[in-house]
């Protein structure tokens, strides 16, 4: 299954605005994307509550997975989003 390992780049972690941007992007994807951190169970990337519950901070490694048509492209773009500092974009 296509997989990407990414380090969270946002200064405030995968919370608040960065989480919203990521979840909204994942919800638009035509395939089902999951996200997990460490050995924990993968959760749907388009579930805001599950993504928040990961508690990922800046520097935390997370793993994205998806299957189906275009999975690689989707994972690339979501991985890029996660690695950026989405707080810095705000200003």
């Amino acid at each position: 299954m296509p997989t990407r390992t990414v380090t969270v780049g946002s200064a405030s972690g995968l919370h608040a605005r960065p989480a919203k941007i990521f979840v909204e992007a994942a919800a638009k994807a035509p395939v089902k994307v999951t996200i997990r951190s460490g050995d924990r169970k993968p959760v749907p990337a388009k579930s805001m509550l599950s993504v928040l519950a990961l508690g990922a901070r800046q520097g935390t490694e997370v793993i994205l997975e998806a299957e189906g048509d275009g999975a690689d492209e989707i994972l690339d773009s979501l991985a890029e989003l996660l690695s950026k500092d989405l707080d810095a974009d705000h200003v």
């Binding site: 405030s12 608040a16 579930s47 805001m48 519950a53």
Partner: protein, 548 residues
Amino acid sequence: MSEALLTGIGVSAGIAAGPLLRIAAAPALPAPLPVTDAEAEITRAEAALAEVVAELGRRADRASDDTVAEVLRAEALMADDEELREGVREQVEAGHDAPHAIDGAFAAFREVFAAAGGYLAERVADLDDLRDRAVAVLLGLPMPGVPAPGHPYILAARDLAPADTADLDPGQVIGLVTEAGGPTSHTAILARALGLPAVVACPGVLAVPDGTFVLLDGASGRVETGVDEAGAKAAATSAARVAAAAPALTGPGRTSDGYEVKLLANVGSVKNVRAADEAHAEGIGLFRTELLFLDRAREPAHDEQVTAYREVFAAMAGRRVVIRTLDAGADKPLPFLNQDGEPNPALGVRGLRVARQRPAVLTTQLAAIAEARSLTGADVWVMAPMVSTPAEAAEFAAAVHDAGLPRAGVMIEVPAAALRAADLLRVVDFLSIGTNDLSQYTFAADRMCGDLADLLDPWQPALLQLIGVCGEAGRAAGKPVGVCGEAAADPALAPVLVGLGVTSLSMSPRAIPAVRASLAAHTGADCRRLAELAVAAPDAAEARKSVR
């Protein structure tokens, strides 16, 4: 309800008449019911969640502030969640009815959030709010929070938090009354910013049944219940006519015999400048720079600061802008300063004191202010918050002049500084009295403590006496002394402050017209007489009465 008179502290002048409605409380979970049709129960629960999402979306659409809209949309996203719906489904299938299934589904996330601590633990309140909203929909009750009945009403609450009032609709809410709170509480500041009559610290107001017609006087603090509706409306209309006449008066602030008092606006960013212009402010008396620093993991860079300051300076070209250097600490902690763990933050390293540990924060800010000034034509004055001694003032003035800025001043927020105002004016060009903090430190009463509201009343004679010490020092030195706290926004207090020697008043733009009208109704001699009466009064209530 029979006629009754409740009394609180008037914090925003004006008369309002209308039905009283309370902020709806969170609904209690009903007794569990057996589930006969699981699919129907799931549909009912999902529809309630969908209504919560839709309602938050509507509020976001209505919100005039972008930040508020974004917060509401983020909250909506948390309720529009497939894992949450999955949790609800599992709960119903385990035999729980819709309200309990929703409670259970949120509880699973609540536990994880609470255990994680920090940011996530703070989101527990959001989860509870979403659950309460969905349960209210299921029970056919109003959603918790500020009512939106579609007609004008007076809002009653124990106290108002910023979250309650972020998207408050001034088309429907015509007055505010709270059981707790004080003159510097969020309710009071919001009311003055919106121009709504308001009374705080009003015991008994929550016992008044919803829908009771009341007459509220935001100047005297009186709230009359069970009044004659027609009479109350007439009183409100005539008061509104008087208030409407005030903006007709424009131009610089002055007493009836021509003594000039600059009327300035308090702003946080260029967004507030338009309101200042609409009120014919003569300049900016307090440009707060904290907004730029809030929620930041790192200090904003020089160029970013230049841009933010330049916007305001450019909009005020040719006019005075008093900019305050970073006022961090206490109620405004900043992540990048790592101030966690101070046992008593209001008495800790805040305001100018931050420069003791982090001098570069101040020098960077002064350099950015100087550059922004050189790019615009504003008359820029710079002042430091939380100054206690002439030595601190001298050091700050030197830093300001080293940065190439011509005018340095200090805020008077600490009694020690007020008592030594004359010494301070030997080393700085002006003083600006922050009455909210000066009250807090003079009376040893926390600004956030509603139970001590009476001590924080800006009419307290001891506070006025300290302002008088500053005014006298300003007169002797021939240097300006302003007031930029909430006290400056009280039309009845304005002549008293001027009589005490204050030469400028800076406030929420909305408050300017009424203050201008009040000054125009008094001579300089009136002001001095009223000031003497107020300072001589035994307490705040008598001080208010003495100037009537």
